[in-house]
């Protein structure tokens, strides 16, 4: 499998970064309060952190549906037609033979247009007719771990390939899928399809693992080079904290769940594939400006 260049002294570095993270938070707090004062006295010199920053570590990419193919360049590289049907988002060129250089040169369906990553999911069918999401958002988040871990988030390495969810799930118990209804919170979320009232949308949430082993861009099962956090921190086997990728798909369908199926099977087989092709500097900037200081950013990677 591909490996990233080794990171030297990761543990030592983590300890240091923890301290830096704490410093950052302190500094941020100071700057926000300083800004409050600055705003109260117009013209006064001083850093302006923005009084209205939202303290959520997040930057998004909204990527409209691009194309469908029975291909999977992570699971079945070089084998067109080997997969069940996938719906692709982001890079518009992705097929069975796609590699990182192809993505870097690709047009994209994402806002921001710098995100030329490829994202794909099993196609949803209603009555055996494909349905594509009206809205597909890929959030990069700093959450689910301690604040000092968030403050030391590292960018995803370019070329990383990752699969989340369980396409082989035989029931809800071995699945992390989550189905719900947009604007209908009264419908309880489920690991399988839910019955959404008309006027709403069927939505799927999927969280990717956020702890990287610091070494591999892929692994034999396409999953185990990353891990989910344990007790709000990354395990020692996967010590590098990267953004938590949250895939949110809104499908313009409602009603009887028995009419729905995924190309991979029932709703609990929902899974997502991510092939990271963000320009290194753009991803690094967003991690530094949005995730580590816990600031909600827009598509441009600037505070909202």
């Amino acid at each position: 499998m591909d490996r990233a260049a080794p990171l030297s002294g990761i543990h030592r570095r983590l300890r240091l970064a923890t301290a830096i993270g704490a410093l950052l938070v302190l500094l941020g707090t100071y700057l926000v309060s300083a800004t409050d004062r600055a705003d109260a006295a117009p013209g006064q010199a001083g850093a302006d952190f923005g009084t209205n920053v939202i303290r959520v570590a997040e930057f998004p990419a909204d990527c409209t549906y691009s194309h469908r193919l029975p291909d999977d360049p992570i699971i079945f590289p070089g084998l067109p037609g080997a997969s069940h049907m996938h719906s692709f988002f982001g890079a518009t060129v992705t097929n069975a033979n796609t590699t990182l250089p192809d993505l870097v040169r690709s047009p994209t369906s994402c806002n921001p247009a710098v995100d030329v990553s490829s994202y794909w999911v099993p196609t949803l069918y209603r009555d055996n007719v494909p349905v594509e999401p009206a809205i597909a958002t890929f959030y990069y988040l700093g959450e689910g771990v301690r604040s000092d871990v968030v403050a030391n988030t590292q960018p995803f390495p370019q070329g990383l390939r990752l699969v989340a969810g369980n396409a082989k799930a035989t029931g809800p118990n071995d699945s992390i899928a989550r189905w719900s209804c947009l604007h209908a919170g009264q419908v309880p979320p489920s690991k399988d399809f839910v019955n959404c009232p008309s006027g709403t949308m069927l939505e799927s949430y999927l969280d990717f693992p956020q702890c990287w082993n610091g070494r591999d861009l892929d692994s034999p099962d396409h999953k185990s080079h990353l891990a989910y956090p344990v007790n709000q921190a990354c395990p020692s086997t996967h010590p590098v904290h990267v953004p938590k990728l949250r895939q949110v798909l809104r499908y313009p369908v409602t009603g009887d769940p028995s009419r729905f199926r995924l190309a991979s099977g029932p709703g609990y087989t929902m899974h997502g594939d991510f092939f990271n092709a963000w320009p290194v500097a753009e991803m690094a900037r967003r991690v530094q400006d949005c995730i580590r200081p816990v600031i909600k950013c827009g598509h441009d990677g600037r505070p909202i």
């Binding site: 499998m1 030297s8 570095r13 850093a47 070089g78």
Partner: protein, 209 residues
């Protein structure tokens, strides 16, 4: 502009903090982790005695195992469901080919030190009989059974030829590419036999009793 001031302050803070510790650590606090190798198809997969395996080799071998394991129960159901010697013969022959392919694929996966499971095994994949289809098949006899059997065999063989053709082209490890070539040849021949058998039986049906 406003934010760049802040960034400058933050970066300055980081650098100051970094300078207070071991020099080697200063760069690692705010920069992304190291450069990475491009994700090309020639990744560092294990090297067998007969040459290196590329990701296409591994993926195809795993898929071949998954597909063969899904088809064998279909073929094994044939003797109990039909007395037609021609169908039995065809099923026997395809099963023998599948078992031989399966053994070769297992050997190659072991050589590559790769898991033998297919990541998408167990779900609706092209050319794979679903559990529901297998149940329906096991409940059928006579002509309906022959029809279902023909449909599943055709879907399997066509998909097998399709992916083996791609593996022959995009694979790298010589023994794997050779297996892919054998599969293309054998399964194309079996497809023809299947079509011939179906044609024979259809013309039989068309003749007056």
């Amino acid at each position: 502009m406003r934010r760049s001031t802040v960034s400058t302050v933050l970066v300055a803070g980081l650098l100051v903090a970094g300078c207070g510790t071991e020099p080697g650590d200063t760069t690692s606090t705010s920069t992304p982790p190291a450069t990475v190798r491009p994700a090309t198809g020639s990744a560092s997969t294990p090297t067998g005695t007969a040459g290196p395996f590329n990701p296409t080799d591994i993926a195809w071998l795993q898929l071949t195992v998954a597909m063969a394991e899904r088809l064998l129960p279909v073929l094994d159901s044939v003797p109990a469901r039909t007395k037609d010697p021609a169908w039995r013969r065809l099923a026997d022959q395809i099963a023998a080919t599948r078992r031989a392919d399966l053994a070769r694929a297992h050997r190659l996966l072991a050589e590559a030190a790769a898991p033998t499971t297919n990541p998408h095994e167990g779900h609706d994949m092209p050319g794979m009989v679903t559990a529901e289809q297998l149940t329906a098949l096991r409940a059928a006899t006579g002509e309906p059974f022959h029809r279902l059997l023909a449909e599943h065999l055709r879907a399997h063989l066509a998909q097998s030829v399709r992916v083996a053709t791609a593996a022959r082209r995009n694979g790298g490890q010589p023994a794997t590419v050779a297996l892919a070539a054998d599969v293309v040849r054998a399964d194309s021949a079996d497809l023809e036999r299947l079509d011939d058998l179906v044609a024979t039986r259809t013309s039989d049906d068309a003749q007056p009793a």
